[in-house]
């Protein structure tokens, strides 16, 4: 088994707000991330796939295909967007880094026919990242 990781970057804005909370609760739980006009990050995405090395090609996965899927499913939808308003999943879920990792996993899994997804890592800043392994 060999693991291959591809990186990508996207820049987006978001804010944290739960309509079931009062204003005070939102402020207490989410702090400055609750500012309604949003704020932004340069996110770094790492997608790790795993598999056996193909004897003919020497590849775990066709990198071109992985890059295309990441571009289409994630970057085209997230890059330079306001996540709360422009990405359908975040109309009803808070766009925390945890939920970003989960949503990206859910977008990639059905499209990655040649490789098995191992991990989605999302850096919100260089000092904060979330890993999702598809665990329930």
């Amino acid at each position: 088994m060999v693991y291959l990781t591809r990186k990508a970057e996207f820049s987006a804005s978001h804010f944290y707000h739960n309509p079931e909370f009062t204003s005070d609760e939102n402020q207490r739980v989410f702090g400055k991330c609750n500012n309604p006009n949003g704020h932004g990050h340069n996110y770094t995405l790492e997608v790790t796939v795993k598999g056996a090395v193909d004897r003919k090609s020497g590849f775990v996965v066709d990198l071109k295909q992985l890059k295309d899927v990441m571009s289409r499913e994630v970057l085209d939808a997230f890059d330079h967007r306001f996540l709360n308003k422009e990405v359908p999943e975040f109309l009803t879920r808070i766009p925390t880094t945890e939920n970003l990792a989960i949503v990206i996993w859910q977008r990639l899994v059905p499209k990655l026919n040649a490789a098995q997804l191992h991990r989605v890592r999302v850096y919100e800043t260089p000092d904060l990242f979330v890993d999702f392994y598809g665990e329930s």
């Binding site: 944290y16 739980v29 989410f30 945890e98 989960i102 260089p126 890993d131 392994y133």
Partner: protein
């Protein structure tokens, strides 16, 4: 759904690698310049990885304010700008980064109850790093 969250912190500290159980010559052979008598320092990058279900209400594994508060009060306050050799946990143990990993792991494991501690990883320099996942870790 379960996710892993990692936060990085920096602390600056000095240490000297020296074991009383070895002769001066053995210490020099084992630890090299890390055995220089007056010690030296590093900017340690400490990565704390916790895991847990992503809360439906908040979208979080745990609130970063809680994690940052705990690490600040119990790790950074304890180790930042200190000489590690003078701390009680290193009275008998050599303050290698391996042992610092274990010491920090034990403090977080014992005191932080908002999420499950998975791992402590410390970069001593840009060229080396150490990880501790607990006694039963992978």
């Amino acid at each position: 759904m379960k996710a892993h969250l990692t936060r990085r912190y920096m602390l600056s500290a000095s240490h000297r690698l020296h074991s009383d159980e070895m002769s001066a010559e053995e210490n020099r052979l084992t630890y090299g310049k890390c055995n220089n008598p007056y010690g030296h320092g590093h900017n340690y990058m400490v990565e704390v990885t916790v895991s847990g279900p992503v809360d439906d209400q908040t979208g979080m594994v745990c609130n970063l304010v809680d994690l940052d508060g705990f690490v600040h009060n119990h790790i950074l306050e304890r180790y930042d700008h200190q000489n590690l050799n003078l701390l009680p946990e290193f009275a008998e143990e050599v303050p290698t980064t391996e042992n610092l990993c274990i010491a920090i792991y034990e403090i977080v494991k014992r005191g932080f109850n908002k999420a499950h501690l998975e791992k402590i990883r410390i970069e001593e320099t840009m060229m080396n790093s150490f990880e501790y996942l607990g006694e039963n870790g992978r």
